[in-house]
């Protein structure tokens, strides 16, 4: 197997020029003002106007690009059975600690590999008893996202994504590994655990878990236990948040999972349209996180300049929904691979804790009042703490990767 090819992001100048040509011609819609809830119908006009102006006049993509390029990136061809060979882009940073734990970080939507960049520098450190374990970190762009290739074919489903990610780890010499993931990444992680665990995938640490509700017929013991324990205030608040999402916040999901191509024309042709589409979620799904204009535009640019184009990222939503059973339903089964669940109270879908026990053997659990959907970006401290806690000395998943415990020496 040939080694991965070193990669540096280098968007052609012509693409930047085209972007600026389009930004200069931007037409803005009018707006219905709701002073008590200015985000109720979507992103406020003043925000989009400000960001468009900044994008046109101040935002420096080359500078953002250079910062991303400080992380060691590669591409490697990965074969997916029945579909072909795909160019997978990824960050791969090895710890100086020889026995570092191989960790794959899987992003979601509207995120990207960038989400690992706040936690990575900490994760590769450590290795001494008092510091916690060290990790080798691998963070791919999912196929159809970032700088990985396009899926190109119908039916490229969560199963195929799982296969590609698993094979990526194998290609790097990591026959055993652990995963941290949220959003779409967490869906893929569940399938990796299902198909390749516990032989290869030794443990998963997940935010944004989506367990099914235990019923008297599906999980009689758990259900009986639950009847005895009332929901906490936080859990009730979580259910209310979840309900609000399903009533007001999942239009994007319904569109992307039924007519992604139709939506794609807009996202490909209008940079401001793409900005609004993604920024609405960056705002709505985070917990009072103060996004800088640079952050927002960097995240959006990764979609705008992506190899597969901004339309392709919707494909997985379509495939998930049209899979039989649907990807969401299929990954709710009990998977016997050590499981860590982190719950952020301000995430989008927040379900009662007891439900998580339907997913697998929980060896680590944590909850945070502060923090939302983009956990590794909003609360890197919490994520690093969790991973060290789960995989370090005395942690529920200590030593899961046989010969790579994350500490110096044996």
């Amino acid at each position: 197997m040939s080694p991965p090819t070193p990669f540096k992001i280098s968007i052609p100048e012509s693409k930047l020029q085209r972007l600026h040509q389009k930004l200069a011609l931007t037409d803005f819609p009018d707006e219905v003002i709701n002073t008590s809830n200015s985000w109720s119908r979507g992103v406020p006009l003043s925000e989009i106007k400000r960001l468009t102006h900044y994008w046109q006049n101040s935002f420096n993509w080359r500078s953002a690009e250079a910062h991303l390029n400080t992380f060691p990136q590669f591409t490697t061809p990965i074969e997916v059975e029945g579909f072909g060979v795909y160019d997978v882009h990824f960050i791969h940073q090895k710890s100086e600690v020889e026995n570092a734990i191989p960790l794959m970080f899987l992003h979601g939507w509207p995120g990207s590999f960038i989400e690992v960049t706040k936690i990575l520098p900490e994760l590769v450190k450590g290795g001494k008893e008092e510091e916690g374990p060290a990790f080798d970190v691998v963070a791919p762009s999912l196929i159809d996202f970032g700088f990985s290739g396009a899926s190109k074919k119908e039916g490229f489903n969560v199963d195929q994504h799982a296969e590609a990610c698993h094979k990526l780890m194998l290609s790097l010499g990591y026959s055993e590994y652990v995963i941290q993931a949220g959003d779409l990444g967490h869906l893929i992680a569940r399938f990796i655990a299902l198909k390749y665990g516990p032989t290869h995938c030794k443990a998963t640490h997940l935010n944004s878990a989506l367990p099914a509700e235990p019923t008297a017929t599906s999980h009689p013991e758990l259900y009986a236990e639950m009847q005895k324990t009332p929901l906490t205030e936080a859990e009730i608040a979580g259910l209310i948040r979840t309900k609000a999402f399903s009533e007001e916040g999942n239009g994007y999901l319904r569109q992307q999972s039924t007519k992604p191509q139709t939506l794609g024309y807009s996202l490909a042709d209008s940079p401001v349209g793409l900005l609004a589409w993604l920024y609405e979620k960056l705002h709505d799904w985070s917990d009072d996180y103060v996004w800088s204009d640079d952050e927002i535009l960097t995240w959006v640019s990764i979609y705008y300049f992506s190899t597969a184009g901004p339309s392709a990222s919707s494909n997985l939503y379509y495939e998930n929904e049209h899979r039989s059973p649907s990807a969401f339903a299929a990954m709710q089964v009990y998977i016997d691979v050590p499981l860590g669940i982190v719950s952020f109270e301000k995430d989008v879908i927040v379900l009662p804790k007891a439900w998580n026990r339907t997913l697998g053997p929980i060896v680590f659990e944590s909850t945070y009042e502060r923090g939302g959907h983009f956990a590794a970006w909003e609360r890197p401290d919490a994520m690093v703490g969790d991973l060290r806690g789960m995989f370090g000395r005395g942690g529920g998943a200590e030593g899961v990767v046989g010969r790579r415990g994350g500490y110096e020496g044996l």
């Binding site: 819609p29 239009g251 007519k259 024309y265 042709d269």
Partner: protein
């Protein structure tokens, strides 16, 4: 009362030039191999339409043709929202006692949809059938009518504008032909203005299964029996199947537009390609094998693109229609106004005819073998035929408008 003014459509050359500037910079997404239509509007079609729109389509020619229609404008005041300029077509029949008929469009339709009915209705007047005075409104936020950016402009306000337009034209009693959201608007009009709206015809029938709690148990028992024993006609079964399929695969735009219309508006206002695809997908999917010419598609899309209040304002109705005092409702018996229900095979919801009887006094009902959501455009002869039958001398709604039964000499 504000006067009725003749109206001339005049889109500025600046706007036309800007559209072409943008089209020239179009960026297209890729498409999955063999995707067909499953994922949305096919790339080949969208590219072809965009090329036509840019290189062949001449808005000035289309505008000239549209200006041959009887276009008018008036100003209607809506309490709390101020005066709105309302554009409409008004074709007065040579038969003085013709039936005043208001055509109410939906999204992504327009007043244009009525123009295919006109020749058939005119023919009817000549051939001893009923005659109609036809009014086709551009709803507020659509085509050449004013936009409303104040929140809370709900279905009842659209209904108010429609009703007031008919009053301004001197039609104190009238009938309606409503499609898409126009169906909900006219249904609400029948609730709010029962002494004016004498009869209502629609092809989008907002029925619900009969309720077990209604005073007359028979419809519900019949429903149960048919449901359990699967006694629906083949057409009704197919209709239910299609309704289920549509709910699952075809409602993304609806979920989005009723919750985050502003977010999607940035893309649709900024990208003519994006907006064309957004509309074209529905124009294709909601019709029954109708062969749209590129010219037709670009005309419909341009009407939105060059609309007075912008593409985004046509979406507001969705957000408002699910909230407030008068959200769009399915079911519910509304007395007084006579109902004419038409069932076309490719309409969005195709529910058993028995359920439609729960909506009111159904005096006319027709199941068609061809046609879809834009029935008046696709199969105008069928829709006109329905109106002629419903309001003609043998029809269930004959003579419902006092003094305007649609015939040159009133029967004794």
């Amino acid at each position: 009362m504000s006067p009725i003014r003749p109206y001339t459509i005049r889109v500025s050359q600046t706007e036309v030039d800007k559209l072409n500037q943008k089209l020239a910079l179009s960026e297209f997404p890729n498409e999955l191999e063999d995707a067909g239509r499953n994922y949305g509007a096919p790339l080949g079609e969208v590219k072809r339409l965009v090329t036509f729109w840019k290189d062949v389509f001449k808005w000035s020619v289309v505008e000239k043709e549209m200006n041959k229609l009887p276009n008018f404008e008036t100003t209607i005041d809506v309490d709390g929202f101020g005066p709105l300029d309302i554009h409409f077509l008004h074709e007065v029949s040579s038969v003085k006692t013709a039936i005043p008929l208001l055509f109410v469009h939906g999204w992504p339709g327009s007043f244009l949809e009525v123009t295919r009915l006109l020749p058939f209705l005119q023919e009817s007047a000549k051939n001893h059938g009923p005659a109609f005075h036809v009014v086709a409104i551009s709803l507020p936020n659509f085509a050449f009518s004013s936009g409303v950016t104040k929140r809370g402009f709900g279905l009842q306000h659209y209904a108010e504008v429609c009703h007031k337009l008919m009053l301004v034209l001197g039609y104190y009693e009238y009938v309606t032909c409503g499609t898409d959201i126009g169906s909900s608007i006219t249904r609400l009009m029948s609730k709010l203005y029962p002494s004016s709206l004498k009869a209502l015809y629609t092809n989008l029938v907002p029925a619900l299964p009969p309720s077990p709690w209604s005073l007359n148990p028979f419809p519900f028992l019949s429903f149960l029996a048919r449901h359990i024993l699967n006694l629906y006609t083949p057409a009704e079964k197919a209709g239910l199947e299609y309704t289920r399929y549509f709910q699952k695969e075809g409602m993304g735009y609806y979920n989005l537009q009723t919750t985050k219309p502003q977010t999607v508006s940035y893309a649709l206002v900024d990208s003519p390609v994006g907006f064309l695809a957004w509309m074209w997908e529905k124009m294709h999917d909601w019709t029954d094998g109708y062969v749209w010419s590129d010219e037709e598609v670009c005309t419909w899309v341009s009407l939105y693109w060059f609309s007075r209040a912008g593409v985004e304002s046509g979406l507001r109705l969705y957000y408002e229609s699910t909230r407030g005092d008068e959200p769009a409702r399915a079911g519910g018996y509304i007395p007084h106004t006579k109902l004419g229900l038409a069932y076309f095979p490719r309409e969005m919801f195709r529910l058993p005819k028995a359920w439609g009887h729960g909506l009111g006094n159904v005096v006319y009902e027709k199941e068609h073998k061809k046609g879809g959501h834009f029935a008046a455009w696709e199969v105008p002869e069928a829709v006109a035929g329905d109106l002629i039958a419903m309001f003609g001398k043998d029809g269930g709604a004959y003579g419902c408008v006092k003094g305007n039964a649609g015939y040159a000499s009133q029967p004794s």
